[in-house]
Amino acid sequence: MSGVVGKAFIVFSTLLFAIVAHAVDWRISGFISGQFQGFFEEPLDPIQSDTNLSIATRPEFYTEWNNGLDSFTFTPFARLDQRDDERTHFDIRELNWLHVGRDWELRVGAGIVFWGVTESRHLVDIINQTDLVENIDGEDKLGQPMIDLSLIRDWGTLSFFVLPGFRKRTFPGPEGRPRIHPPVNADAAIFESDAEEEHIDLAVRWSQAIGNWDLGLSHFHGTTRDPRFALDTSVPGRPFLVPIYEQIDQTGLDAQLTFNSWAWKLEAIRRSGQGESFFAATGGFEYTFYGVFESATDIGLVAEYLYDQRPVETRSPFENDVFTGLRFTLNDPQSTEALMGCIFDLDSSSRFCNIEASRRFGDRWVGSLELRTFSSVPRLDPFFTLRNDDYIQFELAYYF
C-alpha cells in the first residue's frame, strides 16, 4: 500500500488497533495452507519451471463491543512462493472499524467489498484491486482503504465510498507461472492522474431486493482497476509490459431473478476513459436439479453469455464467448463440491476450461483441487501466451 493518504489510513487503523487491542474478547480464525502446482507443458520462457510449491496464511482477528454495534477486523494475508518473488507477498485484506447505526453503517479502514451475481466473470465488482498472483480467476482481492457510509432505507441500501490510496494489480514475476508473455512489470505502472496512487476514487451503489429480484446499480469514478498495457523494449532482449492506469467512469448494473430452481443473472457495465467508451455484459442462468438420482446431491447447470465491445486485440478475452458449467454439491458432512466448466470463444476455437473441487477432511482440514487448461488459443487472443500453462493445483488448508 502506498501513497500518503493510504499511509494515513494505515496509521489511523493501527491507532484504532492499538485502542481495541485492549479488548478482551478476541475471536481468531483463519487458515494456513500448502499448495502444489504442476504444469503439463514446457514453459515458453526457460526461466519458468514445471512445478511450484507455496504456503499461505490468512488469520482474522475480530472483536466487537457496544453490544456488537462496533466491531474491529484485522485480516492480514501472506504467501511464500518457491519460484516467484512477486507471488511471495503480504497484504492487509482487512483492517477496519465498523459502526452500525439504526439505519446506517459506517466502515473506515481497509476492506473488501464484492458486487455482482454472475459466475464466469465479475464485471461490476470494482472497489477492490485483483490480487492476480494468487489466482488467474481474479477472485482474490487486495484490501482497499475506504470510508463506506451505507444508508439503509425502505427503498434500498445506498452506499457511498471514498477510496483513498490506489492498489496496483499484482502480476507474476518472470519466474511466475501461469503468466502472459512478455511479463508485466507491476512496479513500472504509468498513471493518467498526476496524483498517481494518491488519487481519491469515489463510488456509489444502490441495492435492493424486491420480491424475487435482487438489484444493484453502481457508479465508479476514479483510477481503473483493470489496466491497459504498453510494451517497453528499452532493455534489449528483455521486453516487458507496463500497466497503464487511466481515469475512468464506470456505471454498472447487476440483477438476479430467482424462482423455483432458476436463477437468472445479468451484469452490465459502461466504461469510459480507456480509449473509446465501451459496453460489456455477462448474462445467463443457473438451473439446479435438487437431490438427483435419489441422493442428496444437487447438480447445477450454469450457462452465461459474455460480451465485451472492446476488440480482442485490446486484451479483453471475452468479447463474444459462452460459459457452460456444471456445479456438483454433494450435501454430505464433508461439504464436497465441484464446479467444472469452459468458456468458449464463439469467434475462434479458443477454449478455457476449469475444474474446481473441494472437500473437508476431519474437522479442520480442507483439500482442494484446481485444473485449468487453455486450448486452441489464436495468436491475437490475450490468452495466446498462456497456451502452454495448463496446470493442476492441489491445496491442503488447516482452519483454526
Binding site: E105, I152, Y290, D298
Partner: protein, 260 residues
Amino acid sequence: MKRLLFAIALLNLLPLEALAETPEEKGLAIAVEADKRDLGWQDSKASMRMILRNRQGETSERQIRTRTLEVEGDGDKSLTIFDHPADVKNTAFLSYTHAIKPDDQWLYLPALKRVKRIASANKSGPFVGSEFAYEDISSQEVKKYSYKWLRDEVFDGQDAFVIERIPQYKHSGYTKQHAWIDKEHYRTLKVDYYDRKGALLKTLVLSDYKQYLGKYWRAHKMEMQNHLNGKSTTLTWSDYEFRNGFTDRDFDRNTLKRIK
C-alpha cells in the same frame, strides 16, 4: 352404519361439542391451537450443536447460532451463523420463510464477501449435510399443511394427539407427516416423515422441553433418524434468549454480510 358406530365411539371419548367435528376439522383445530399458544414471543436467539452420524457411527459436528424474528401473518425471519467447522466460520444464512409461497433465502460466503440469493426449490434438500431438510427447520405455519386428526395415543408417558399433515407448498419431499402433539401444552413430541413414494423416510423425536417467558415451550433436543440411509442427526439447543429487541434491520442483507 360405520359412521354411526364411529359417532357412538366418539361420544364415549370426547366432550359433546367435539361431536360436530370431522377428523379434518379436529386436526386443523389442534394445529391452530398449537400455533395460538406460540404467538407473541417476538424474537429469540439460541445456540445449537449438531451431531451428524453416519451408518457406521462416525460423527461430525456443527456449531450454529440462530436469531429468529416472529412475523405476524407470515413465516418468521431467521438468521443462521456458522461457527464450526472452522472452514465455514462466518458463513451466514438469511431466510424469510413463508407459508405457501417459496421462502426467500440468501447465503453469505465470507471467502468472497459475496451474498448469494439461493433458489427456493431446495425445500427437500439437506440442511448443511444433515438429515434435516430445509423444510424441517423452516417456521411451522398453519397454512403450510392440510390436517387430519388420526387418533389419540400416549407417547413417552404423555397424552397426545396424532395428526396427519399434508404439505400444501411446492417442492416438498414429503407426501405426508404424522405428528404427535401433547394434549396439555400442544408441543410437538414426534414427527414421522413419509417420502414421495409414501414410505416412512425419517422420524424426528423432540425432547427436553423448557418453558420461556412463562408461556413458550422449546425443545432442547431434536433427534432425526433417517430409516432409509441409516444416518441420524442430533440437535442440542442452548442459550435461548427471548425478546432481544430485534427488528427487520437485524434480518437484512447488510446484517447478513457483517454478522459474526
